[in-house]
Amino acid sequence: MTINPDISVLLSSLELKNPVMTASGTFGYGKEFETLFDLNRLGAIVVKGISLKPMKGNPPPRIVETPAGMLNAIGLANIGIEGFLKDKLPWLNTLNTEVIVNIYGHSINEYGELASAFKGVKGVSAIEVNISCPNVDKGGLVFGKDPEMSGRVTETVVKNTDKPVIVKLTPNVSDITQLAKAVEQAGAHALSVINTLTGMAVDINTRRPRLGNISGGLSGPAIKPVALYMVYQTARAVKIPVIGIGGILNAHDALEFMIAGASAVQVGTANFINPRATIEIIEGIGNYCIEKGINKIKDIVGSLITARQG
């Protein structure tokens, strides 16, 4: 029996005390959840996407609930890099957890500038590159759906940073493994899979779209099976670590992703439903290891047994 399982994970050169992170855009800049649980227990905090200049975001309504999930079209509203460095990062640095900065640019140059701006900045452990937001006009998705452009953005960020680079991929393509391979080739150290699925909802009384932006990104338990399969496919297609994201609510969900090939997970919409979800998942993963006699959580990553293997 395992008494004290090792649930730390390694994403390229980035070591996390456990595999559970908060997904960008669902956890603000961390402080919003400060009084609800001990944030130091998180594997990492991935902050809201940051652009060079502050962004106001999309007109309301920005969110609508759908069966077992929600659509959002926030439009990357954020305080910009200057505001982040001045007002948010100093407080985040008082925490004993890794801080991963999610960046979003309007052009390849902007991605490069953002990456440079975090060069040598203490307390930022890694860069997550958002090339997959479905909710802005000239959005990252322009880059994120095309393997060649995704590769070029990745190359630029890698060239301009001293930190591990994680690239967040869109599921809104016919073959996610082509993107994954292109991004790996371009030097990414890890992949986040998946961002939201594009969708919409209609009010039949007013005949208007339920979102000001017409379309939005679907998240929550509804997308979990889709995300899980994409993580499985991606993890088999690349050698770099894959971070599983998509409708994870509890430890059971997180473990499914890890067995399917994810080295770590991000929890998103669940933070709205149960603000303590991340902590319960960390505890649940530990308990699973104890129950199953697993010494190191790393050992279950990609341990899926398929019929083909007998």
Partner: protein, 262 residues
């Protein structure tokens, strides 16, 4: 602000479609201020999965919190079927409430429909005589007896169909009352549907009366993290900017909101 499971003490139908939920949470009751809200998880399953925001309608001794709500959809339907003894996950109190430290004015409390929910708490907390409480409803059968929610304050009623009280809109009734109080310093605190708040914006400007309103939007987190609950701000004329109802509000000065582009 806390996230906790609470035990329902009662959950009763006050008038068709309107329920009064009472639960015990000494921590929440002690901290709650009029105008603040809570996020309630109505079931443990995944559909619906998001929490629902509700205004706090009052507190009782021994740490009881009251929530008056209207059944409008799947979430409130599920909530209305809860019984005494059932458990609920509650997050709060959240947001900025009404400023009640401002005596010396004649206060008009104006409510429209279920917008009366936070105003009961306000009337409970505003401990002074110079209060006029006006409430508008579509029909008399929608009116709830203040005594049934533990409120002693007299309320002047307006109904759209004239089936009780003043025949017409509550904002028209307000205007009549304002004229009577012309010599006093007046303030208006209000909560209700958008057309009512827009009408209040005109009245507030016409008579130069300070006015605070409580706003309602869809919300996912209630904590300022998701940025989903925005309303257009009036502060920047040539530039679009937004307030987050959960953090910047839900109570705003009426002049802070862009009522033409909401």
């Amino acid at each position: 602000m806390i996230e906790t499971y609470v035990k329902i003490l009662s959950n009763t139908c006050i008038t068709p479609g309107i329920f009064l939920l009472r639960f015990s949470s000494p921590g929440l009751a002690a901290e709650a201020k009029p105008g603040q809200f809570i996020m309630v998880r109505v079931n443990d399953g995944i559909d619906p999965c998001l929490r629902r925001p509700f205004s706090i309608s009052g507190t009782e001794e021994e740490g009881v919190v009251r929530v008056l709500y209207k059944v409008v959809g799947k979430g409130t339907e599920i909530l209305s079927n809860k019984r005494a003894g059932d458990r609920l996950s509650v997050l709060g109190p959240l947001g900025k409430g009404f400023d009640i430290t401002d005596p010396g004015q004649h206060l008009f409390i104006v409510a429209g429909g279920i917008g009366i929910a936070p105003m009961f708490f306000l009337s409970q907390a505003v401990n002074k005589k110079a209060v006029t409480f006006l409430a508008g409803f579509r029909r008399s059968d929608e009116i709830m007896d203040p005594a049934s929610v533990g409120i002693k304050q007299d309320i002047s009623i307006a109904t759209d169909d004239g089936s009780m009280g003043y025949h017409g809109r509550v904002t028209d009734l307000l205007e009549q009352e304002i004229i009577k109080q012309r010599d006093n310093a007046i303030a208006i605190y209000a909560c209700g549907p958008l057309p009512m708040l827009k009408a209040l914006s005109s009245i507030s400007n016409k008579y130069r009366i300070p006015c605070k309103v409580s706003m309602e939007t869809f919300m996912a987190c209630g904590l300022g993290a998701c940025q989903g609950c925005v309303v257009r701000s009036a502060s920047a004329l040539d530039q679009i900017s937004y307030y987050h109802v959960c953090k910047d509000g839900p109570v705003f000065d009426i002049n802070e909101i862009d009522w033409d582009n909401i």
